[in-house]
């Protein structure tokens, strides 16, 4: 009986604390995303090899590639690598890509549901292109074209913040 009383009193103390924490979480969730300061963003780069030799889509790419298949006449899509960067505003991260390529990514500003991101594609020491994009939260930009082995490379750059 004593144990039971002790359990009841512990519950009585814990329940308001739990409710308070839940209310705090609710308040945090209710603040519009635009108001919340976002200082970091998570950017992932998936490297896909699209080719007309062979057939089959990598099981990890089925969701992404279904629409690309209607636009390109490639028969095979293989995921070569995946890399994720967790970057602060203004911080640069570099991803090594096949064919002596490197992609430098710098998020400049993160507001509402888009992030301003600078991309710089390099091949050896030469800059191939530079671009400024506004990437949708949980959206992707497909950058493709470079020839590699028996097909073309497609880089899927996704951001979430």
């Amino acid at each position: 009986m004593k144990n039971r009383m002790r359990k009841v009193s512990t519950m009585q103390v814990r329940l308001p604390v739990l409710l308070f924490l839940l209310m705090l979480a609710g308040l945090w969730m209710s603040i519009p995303t635009a108001v919340q300061a976002k200082e970091r963003c998570r950017i992932s780069v998936d490297t896909i090899l699209a080719s007309r030799q062979g057939s089959g889509v990598d099981s990890r790419l089925k969701q992404d590639v279904s629409e690309l298949q209607n636009m390109f006449n490639y028969t095979s899509y293989q995921l070569l690598s995946s890399k994720t960067l967790n970057l602060k505003k203004g911080e640069s991260g570099t991803v090594s890509l096949p064919g002596n390529r490197r992609l430098k990514i710098t998020p400049h500003n993160i507001r509402e549901n888009r992030a301003d991101i600078a991309l710089q594609m390099m091949k050896k020491k030469r800059t191939v292109f530079q671009s400024q994009v506004q990437l949708l939260n949980r959206g992707s930009l497909f950058v493709g074209g470079p020839k590699y082995e028996n097909g073309n490379l497609i880089f899927k750059i996704s951001g979430s913040y």
């Binding site: 009986m1 039971r4 329940l15 308001p16 409710l19 839940l22 209310m23 979480a25 609710g26 969730m29 209710s30 995303t33 629409e67 690309l68 209607n70 636009m71 064919g99 002596n100 888009r114 301003d116 594609m121 091949k123 050896k124 030469r126 800059t127 191939v128 292109f129 530079q130 671009s131 400024q132 994009v133 506004q134 990437l135 949708l136 949980r138 959206g139 992707s140 930009l141 497909f142 950058v143 493709g144 074209g145 470079p146 020839k147 590699y148 750059i157």
Partner: protein, 167 residues
């Protein structure tokens, strides 16, 4: 009260005798009968042994039972009855945390849905390209018709390509 015939054998009477349910006259009658009747003495001994075995068995089974859950159940029932006896005020008192908890849960559900649910039909392209510069032979920017995924397609300059093949 019935009188026992001294020469009659009656199992029911023997059982009542064993249980101590007989009146003084019946008891005396059966005891007289038992002194003379070997069959009834044996029957009485059998009933006595059987009764003792049965009691022992019941005791053993009872000892095995854990009464703690039963005790808890009884306490819970008693507490619940106490709440009901106090009337609706105690019911509201017990709900004082449940109502805010339910409200917070609804709030969490609503905002998490609006915040994290993915729009099935996007109304804007996944990426807007503000600027693009570089040394390449051609560039195309387009988007997929359904999910509006932005695609940037470029062809590297031939010398860059040959450089790649050479390497």
């Amino acid at each position: 009260m019935t009188h026992v015939q001294s020469n009659s054998c009656d199992d029911a009477l023997l059982i009542r005798y064993l249980d101590g349910d007989l009146g003084p006259d019946e008891k005396k009658g059966i005891e007289d009968h038992l002194q003379r009747c070997e069959t009834c003495r044996r029957q009485l001994a059998f009933f006595s042994d059987f009764s003792q075995d049965f009691r022992n068995h019941v005791q053993r089974e009872t000892d095995r039972v854990d009464f703690t859950p039963l005790e808890k159940e009884v306490i819970n029932k008693a507490l619940r009855q106490r709440y009901y006896k106090r009337g609706p005020s105690s019911l509201f008192a017990s709900l004082k945390f449940a109502v805010p908890a339910a409200a917070v849960a609804c709030l969490l559900l609503f905002f998490s849905y609006t915040r994290f649910a993915v729009d099935p039909v996007p109304t804007a392209p996944s990426a807007i390209i503000n600027s693009f510069t570089g040394s390449m032979s051609s560039v195309m920017i387009f988007e997929t018709p359904e999910t509006r995924q932005t695609i940037l397609w470029y062809n590297e300059e031939p010398d860059a390509e040959s450089e790649h093949h050479a390497s």
